[in-house]
Amino acid sequence: MKKTLSFFILLSAIGLDTYAKCIGPRDVPALITQTYILSAVVAIVFILLAVVSANLIKFEGGTNPKDPGKRRVWFWLLAALSPIAFLGYNLLLVIPELCKGPASSKFSMHPFIATGIVLVLYILIGLVLSKTMKRGKVGNWFPSK
């Protein structure tokens, strides 16, 4: 009885310990949904940063001003940073939280898909904004010929 009880306590302790340290298979679907929502949020945050940077760059004088080029550089720089930041966050802070085994394998593809979504969403939103406000500074991201 005492041995059974000790074994039970030990197993419970192990179970409890595992629950505090890793995300199990039952919680992976919610995590996947959360990841995709976060990918959209990250894309929007980075686009907003791109809009702010575009507006901070002042119009320049001269026969061939370079300010549109500067805005495009910042747009594509942030385009590159957004998936890197998102993937880095997932690799360093999310995936280590998953329990090894079924949970981990169930979740494994989704950070990469979501990273792709960050990039695609960023460029799409950027394109729409650029074409909608083509006379503004964000119009320089995708200039019309």
């Binding site: 119009f59 001269g62 026969t63 061939n64 001003p65 006379r135 503004g136 320089n140 200039p143």
Partner: protein, 528 residues
């Protein structure tokens, strides 16, 4: 001719909205440097407005270059060996005892009858009035004959045809000084000469409408130059040379004439007395001329604010109805703030105050900003195509309606602006019209002094929205970290700034100028 330069720049500023103005340059000195400069400026103005179907463009409203200018040139030919002086032209020496010779000797000294007329009448107005009148009559007779017409006769014929066709709506304004040669000689005789020329041309069936209105400047002395020495006056051709030390006396005598002469009083509706109350500008200063320049290509003197005031007198005459019903000439003058030998001018001192002053300030200020945008911000003064900076900015912000404007057009417009403002030739700063005018005024000239900087470092970071001292007219900065130029470009590319139908711009060139004008007008808030 420098009054014509000022007038042309006023047209470029847009002060003569919707007007078509016919300009006749009348001179005795065909090769005169100032004449060439003024005529080239009008021709360049016309090139800027010209489109394939419309030479000289059309009149527009509330924009730059809004007037249509037609240039006609007439000059007396005194280069022909048979016409170099009074004696040769009149042949009075053929009958030494005849009435003509006796009358001539009564009024004209021997040296006055013999000096070379190629550089004008050299302040001999009694001779000049006679010769100018007869030159015009001679041209009218040639036109009637219609044989072997010279170009200047044809152009003169077109000009006075326009006056005839305008009938009672004809308004003729004569620019001239009263202390010198051609202007002083011509002002008294122009109305009669034009009327007689029309009568001759039309075989007495045509004449100037009795309701045609004439106005004129009475510009008294404001400059001086190197006194001629006896060595230069030793030759027969140079036996008479204008001496600027007599200009004050000439002006006084002329003013007495204009005040008292019944023909002048009956002919002119308004006469605008423009004088210069302080020291005359010395055109020979800092020059190493060995001789007094009597005329020709070397006579290219800088501009003066009195000439701008003459151009403003023309504005008053053309635009206002005041004086139209006068049966006798009305003499008007203008004054400005004067204290401790310093004259200060603000925008109310040119074509009137209140609404007129605002109108002048808005147009002049807008054109000065345009000039600095093209020359200082876009480096047009240093040889780059400053106007193309605007066109490239439009393209970059997806505004493509001006893509068809050629590089030739933008270079020509940039060049016009250098004539208006300034340019840099190597290490030398070369004053254009505006900077020359500024130099002639000891006190304040409309704008803040920083608008007239010559410092290369200041020009490289020039703020075109800060030309006014008055805070109300400074362009918005758009926040603590903002810049006026940045805010201006946002205004420039805004859809609301595009040309409107009321501006009467049908051609791309006109629309481009109107677009830039609208953005500057909005930025400087005269009409906010």
């Amino acid at each position: 001719m420098r009054c014509l330069e000022a007038f042309t720049h006023m047209c470029a500023m847009g002060l003569y909205d919707s007007k078509e103005i016919n300009i006749l340059t009348l001179d005795t000195d065909q090769t005169n440097g100032n004449k060439e400069r003024a005529e080239n400026l009008v021709k360049q103005y016309n090139r800027i407005k010209t489109t394939p179907n419309k030479p000289g463009g059309l009149p527009n409203e509330d924009t730059f270059f809004s007037a249509k200018l037609n240039l006609y040139r007439f000059w007396t030919d005194y280069n022909n060996p048979a016409r170099t002086n009074f004696k040769n032209i009149t042949q009075i020496h053929v009958d030494p005892e005849g009435e003509n010779k006796l009358l001539s000797d009564l009024f004209l000294d021997e040296n006055v009858q013999q000096f070379n007329l190629a550089h004008g009448y050299r302040a001999q107005t009694h001779l000049g009035s006679y010769l100018m009148y007869h030159a015009i009559i001679e041209a009218a007779r040639s036109l009637k004959d219609g044989k072997e017409l010279k170009s200047e006769e044809q152009e003169f014929g077109e000009f006075f045809n326009k006056i005839f066709m305008a009938e009672s709506d004809a308004k003729v304004f004569v620019f001239g000084s009263i202390f010198g040669g051609t202007g002083a000689s011509s002002i008294p005789v122009i109305p009669k000469a034009l009327n007689d020329a029309i009568k001759i041309r039309g075989g007495d069936k045509m004449s100037l409408s009795k309701d045609a209105k004439f106005g004129s400047t009475l510009l008294t002395e404001y400059f001086s130059f190197k006194k001629p020495d006896s060595a230069q006056m030793a030759s027969k051709d140079d036996s008479v040379i204008a001496d600027s030390s007599f200009f004050t006396l000439n002006s006084q005598a002329a003013l007495q004439f204009y005040q008292g002469d019944p023909t002048v009083q009956k002919t002119y509706k308004r006469m605008y007395h423009i004088g210069w109350p302080i020291e005359s500008q010395d055109f020979s200063k800092d020059k190493k001329d060995k001789k007094t320049i009597t005329g020709g290509g070397a006579q290219k003197n800088p501009c003066h604010v009195t000439e701008l005031l003459c151009a403003c007198a023309a504005y008053d005459f053309f635009v206002n109805d005041a004086g139209e019903k006068n049966t006798k000439a009305e003499y008007v003058y203008k004054s400005a703030k004067y204290k401790d030998s310093v004259l200060d001018f603000d925008y109310n001192d040119f074509i009137g105050n209140n609404e007129n002053g605002k109108h002048f300030g808005n147009k002049f200020g807008a054109f000065v900003s345009f000039m600095h945008l093209a020359l200082s911000v876009n480096k047009g003064a240093k040889g780059e195509n400053g106007v193309s900076g605007f066109l490239n900015k439009f393209k970059q912000q997806s505004i493509h309606q001006y893509d068809s404007l050629t590089e030739e057009y933008s270079k020509d417009l940039t060049d016009y602006l250098t004539k208006f403002g300034y340019y840099v030739d190597g290490q030398d700063f070369v004053d254009g019209w505006l900077y020359q005018i500024r130099k002639s005024v000891s006190g304040k000239f409309i704008f803040d002094d920083s608008a007239f900087t010559r410092d290369p470092r200041e020009l490289s970071k020039f703020d075109p929205g800060k030309i006014w001292s008055e805070k109300d007219y400074l362009w918005d900065k758009g926040g603590l970290l903002g810049s006026r130029y940045d805010t201006f470009v946002k205004t420039l590319v805004d859809k609301d700034t595009e040309p409107t139908d009321s501006q009467n711009c049908s051609e791309t060139k006109e629309k481009f100028l109107a677009h830039v004008y609208n953005a500057i007008k909005k930025s400087q808030k005269f009409y906010a």
